[in-house]
Symmetry: C2
Subunit: 227 residues, 2 copies
């Protein structure tokens, strides 16, 4: 990994001298000392994007939730569990030229995680009081001196893909949005992905391909953006 980092540093790719922050994987939000809220993100797509950006010469900070995929070579990996930890790690990694927010960040966490919740004998299940997590994509997309030149968000949708994706891109203020349909098919956790890419110049439907190929294609597009 050290050798690869050195290679990346000296690599003469189109992203040489650029710093990219990539988020990847799920977040885990504790409910109590043993239980948590999770999601099915495997980190495969985000990790592949981090590797592909490094291969084009970028210095990459990968902020990753709990995943079982190996660290990409030549990438600085920061491990976190919760959305709040991910937000703090992203803020700490700024400034950056590129932010790719591929993580499936939990929208909500449980308000207070104390002792283990027990059945109380009433037959009534407990209510989980949820509260909103920080919106990492919206925060990093907000105008300001620290805003990366290119911010790319991800949208995992289960219906009305194009419509929801366009609305999300506008709402978050990111430059590009990668949208995929995670309903039913084996995309979340699987090895292939099929996406819409929404940019300032329109919407492209990319053919289904494996996540490594998709990462390389996206990284090449990012390289063109900075050319």
């Amino acid at each position: 990994a050290i050798l690869s980092a050195i290679e990346a540093f000296f690599a003469d790719g189109p992203l040489k001298g650029r710093h990219a922050i990539v988020t990847s994987g799920p977040t885990h939000e504790p409910i109590d000392p043993v239980r948590y809220l999770a999601n099915r993100s495997s980190g495969k797509q985000g990790h592949a994007i981090a590797a592909a950006l490094a291969a084009l010469g970028a210095r990459v900070t990968l902020v990753s939730g709990p995943v079982n995929v190996p660290d990409p070579a030549g990438v600085n990996v920061v491990r976190v569990d919760t959305a709040r930890e991910m937000r703090d790690a992203v803020q700490a990694a700024l400034p950056a030229d590129i932010a790719v927010c591929a993580a499936a960040v939990a929208d909500w966490r449980v308000e207070e995680a104390g002792q283990k919740i027990k059945k109380d004998g009433s037959g009534q299940p407990p209510a989980l009081r949820l509260t909103e997590n920080p919106d990492i994509l919206a925060e990093i997309s907000a105008p300001g001196p620290q805003r990366p030149k290119l911010v790319i968000g991800f949208a995992a949708e289960t219906e009305k893909l194009a419509e929801h994706a366009a609305a999300k891109r506008a709402r978050k203020g990111c430059d590009w949005l990668v949208a995929n349909d995670v309903g039913g098919t084996g995309i979340m956790g699987g090895d292939e992905n099929e996406i819409l890419l929404l940019t300032e110049s329109g919407t492209e439907a990319w053919d289904k391909m494996d996540k490594t190929a998709l990462a390389q294609k996206l990284a090449a597009r990012i390289g063109e953006f900075f050319a």
Copy 2:
């Protein structure tokens, strides 16, 4: 694994001819197509018990939630995700002489898992309506022609260990109860365990030991029970 199974079949241990059902790992309860409720059980303890029982000659059915530990040799593994699937797999594996319910089964699931839950713009987080899961330990402990001769439950507590464990043993109707304190320490997911064993003849505090050693000690006790 096949060779080990054959060895176990011909092994002349104290549990030869006995069938044991062991549950292990967490359950995952879907909230929507991408999110789920989980817990920090690794399956290490349950899988080690399955292996230890097989080593004493038992025929073992291991019903396992989603884990990252390898299948023990010589054991029939049935994989499940949810508490309801685990209950069905346990029922399907009966009759048995021994049931060791080591899994951390979710007490509750979300009432209806439909489309992906989205922020609705109201700023109000959604309510997760929970409903009780089947109580696998209580069901298998209930008197009846299918009840295993020895039913062993597990209790993961974060406070008042002995008191909560005794109450759980009485409430569930199991014969023995293995209780551990999972608050703060690294027991859930870790390699060591420190337990209280509650049996018909009282409560024993076992020294802290690694999960494999604990499994072997428990299996030996089960062997004595059937001697």
